[in-house]
């Protein structure tokens, strides 16, 4: 169990030292510094520079996102289209709005940099008590390094599905706060279909209330470096979350997700399932799944899972589950992680049944990822993403055999 507590004014330095020890003693499932003790601040100057051996950044190509870590980001709202919808309000608010900071604070430099520089926050309030879908599209941000801030608040008893659809060029660091009121049922989906030149770093902070449910889904298909890190805090009795993720990394792409589920209150439940496909020599993915079960979180039921499917020679998928348990009285806590290959024998088997190579790959990828797509709960978005996933398959054999 975690034991080390340090003065954390220079958190990144301290954390990196701790990391080296944790690695050396190969205690992968019991991080030396408890996740709950990490330093947080909304001010970027409280964080030291990101270093390639920091626990936080060691798996990320920081040279490619230097702007987002260090530059003075442009903070004006940009590229956002908002629909009008009964039961949902969406307005731009000032930095001093009471909603800001209600779900969490940055744990690392890029997140704090965004927080320090955003000018207006997008506040989305869901009050509808019948299931409502609300789609925010964001496109045409350009490659200027930017900051953004969003707060999604689900009122008690409300039900909603909020989809953040991102496409085009972007060089963006942002924070998304999610507050789920008592007995509310909210689904938040963030879809990254950025251009290959784009970089996107996002921290999502969620607080889930009494007997409330947050379903959180991260879909990353397009972009150069895309790093989406949801921290979900189950702070009241009976709070539950289902956190899903789907990614498809091609050559040149680094798709990262660091998921943190914090069981604070009793009788809380979490399910985490991230699935990723990788194809192409330099395709890269990172999944880190931290689950903490705090001392008061009795009766907790938790399970996290990451599956990767490698479709060619060369990609690298890191998959790192961490479980921190501070109470003995839990219902269950488990994790699973695997990285499998679609290999030549599988391809041969399918082809020997008349299925072309291109169709065989589609069949396998569809079979693998569809489960996550179906979690979204919006027919239109699901169908569109299904097609987008299949379009990710870029094997030369595909091009050869397609008519």
């Amino acid at each position: 169990m975690s034991a080390v507590t340090t003065a954390k004014t220079d958190a990144s330095q301290e954390a990196s030292a701790a990391t080296e020890i944790a690695e050396g003693s190969s205690t992968r499932y019991t991080p030396i510094q408890s996740r709950s003790e990490r330093f947080t601040s909304a001010d970027v100057t409280d964080f030291g520079p990101a270093l390639s051996y920091d626990l936080e950044w060691k798996l990320t190509p920081i040279a490619r996102i230097a702007d987002l870590l260090d530059a003075a980001l442009t903070g004006a709202p940009a590229g956002v289209t908002l629909p009008t919808q009964d039961g949902v309000s969406a307005v731009w608010v000032d930095r001093d709005d009471a909603r800001i900071g209600s779900a969490g604070l940055p744990e690392e430099r890029a997140s704090a940099n965004a927080w320090s520089h955003f000018e207006k926050a997008l506040a989305i309030d869901v009050s509808s008590e019948i299931a409502t879908e609300f789609v925010v599209t964001r496109t045409g941000l350009g490659l200027t390094p930017r900051a953004a801030h969003t707060v999604i608040t689900a009122k008690p008893f409300s039900r909603g599905l909020v989809i953040l659809e991102n496409s085009g060029d972007a060089n963006l660091s942002e924070n998304v706060e999610i507050v789920v009121g008592d007995q509310a049922h909210l689904t938040v989906v963030t879809v990254q279909e950025w251009s290959p030149e784009s970089n996107h770093l996002a921290s999502h902070f969620a607080r889930v209330g009494r007997d409330a449910t947050l379903r959180h889904i991260v879909v990353s298909l397009g972009g150069g470096v895309v790093r989406v890190n949801p921290s979900i805090h189950l702070v009241e009795t009976g709070a539950a979350t289902e956190a899903y993720g789907l990614y498809f990394a091609n050559s040149g792409q680094h798709l990262e997700q660091r998921v943190y589920i914090d069981h604070v209150a009793a009788q809380t439940r979490s399910r985490v399932k991230y699935k990723g496909a990788l194809e192409g020599a330099s395709a890269r993915s990172v999944w880190v799944g931290d689950v903490r079960i705090g001392p008061d979180a009795v009766g907790t039921d938790s399970y996290e899972e990451n599956r990767n499917l490698v479709l060619s020679e060369g990609p690298r998928a890191d998959s790192i589950p961490n479980l921190e348990i501070e109470t003995g009285d839990i219902m269950g806590a488990g994790h699973a992680s695997s990285t499998g290959r679609f290999d030549d024998e599988q391809l041969f088997y399918l082809q020997s049944r008349g299925i072309s190579e291109a169709e065989a790959r589609r069949l396998v990828v569809r079979g693998f990822l569809t489960e996550i797509v179906h979690q979204i709960g919006s027919d239109g978005t699901e169908a569109r993403l299904q097609a987008a996933i299949e379009a990710e398959l870029t094997d030369s054999a595909t091009n050869k055999q397609e008519k």
Binding site: F348, Y349, Q351, R353, G354, I355, L363, V364, G367, F368
Partner: protein
Amino acid sequence: MSQLLIRDLHVSVETEQGTKQILRGVDLAIGAGETHAIMGPNGSGKSTLAYAIAGHPKYKVDSGSILLDGVEVLSMTVDERARAGLFLAMQYPVEIPGVSVTNFLRTAKTAIDGEAPAIRGWIKDVRTSMANLKMDPAFAERNVNEGFSGGEKKRNEILQLELLKPRFAVLDETDSGLDVDALKIVSEGVNRAKENTDLGVLLITHYNRILKYIQPDFVHVFVAGRIVEQGGPELAVRLENEGYDRFLTADASVG
């Protein structure tokens, strides 16, 4: 009449120790509706012959030809061969995670026929074939071969044979790993296919027992990469009693 004609087939495989020659001149002619049994010692190259017919990329054809109704099969891709009417029931069927049997069968049927099967009739066909093979309907929703027992995998191969309706099928040790009841069920499946579609069968086996259910027209003895003797069903009985000794001593090039 349809014919699968194998002529002077030489096949090798790349191993860490270098190129290994496995098939050394195989000649075989199979007509529609005929059943040819191939029996031979372990490592003699029977599966290699099966894979070479199906087009497995690991096996390199050095010379010879395989003609299906006069058309060269060797220049076709694996899936083209299947669409031309060839089928291989594998000795070790492969697990395909994430793809359900139902989805797989429909995709394969669509690929082979060039159009999607009419949905109602197809569902009924799948159900009937599964029932005939005594496969629990729950298998339809499981991933292809994933976690199937050895015998269940073999039934799944024959299920595909029945539904895809090829013209020629190579059955590579479909009988091994089957209990007596399953052997009977699977054999009946093959016989149904023979009856309904005039299927030509190349049946690779070590045991005479399957030949009691699936009557061979010809039995070939396969040793060291080629056919060394041919005969009728009586040859299988003799092989089972005597083993392959007389062929092994006669052929110094083994090993």
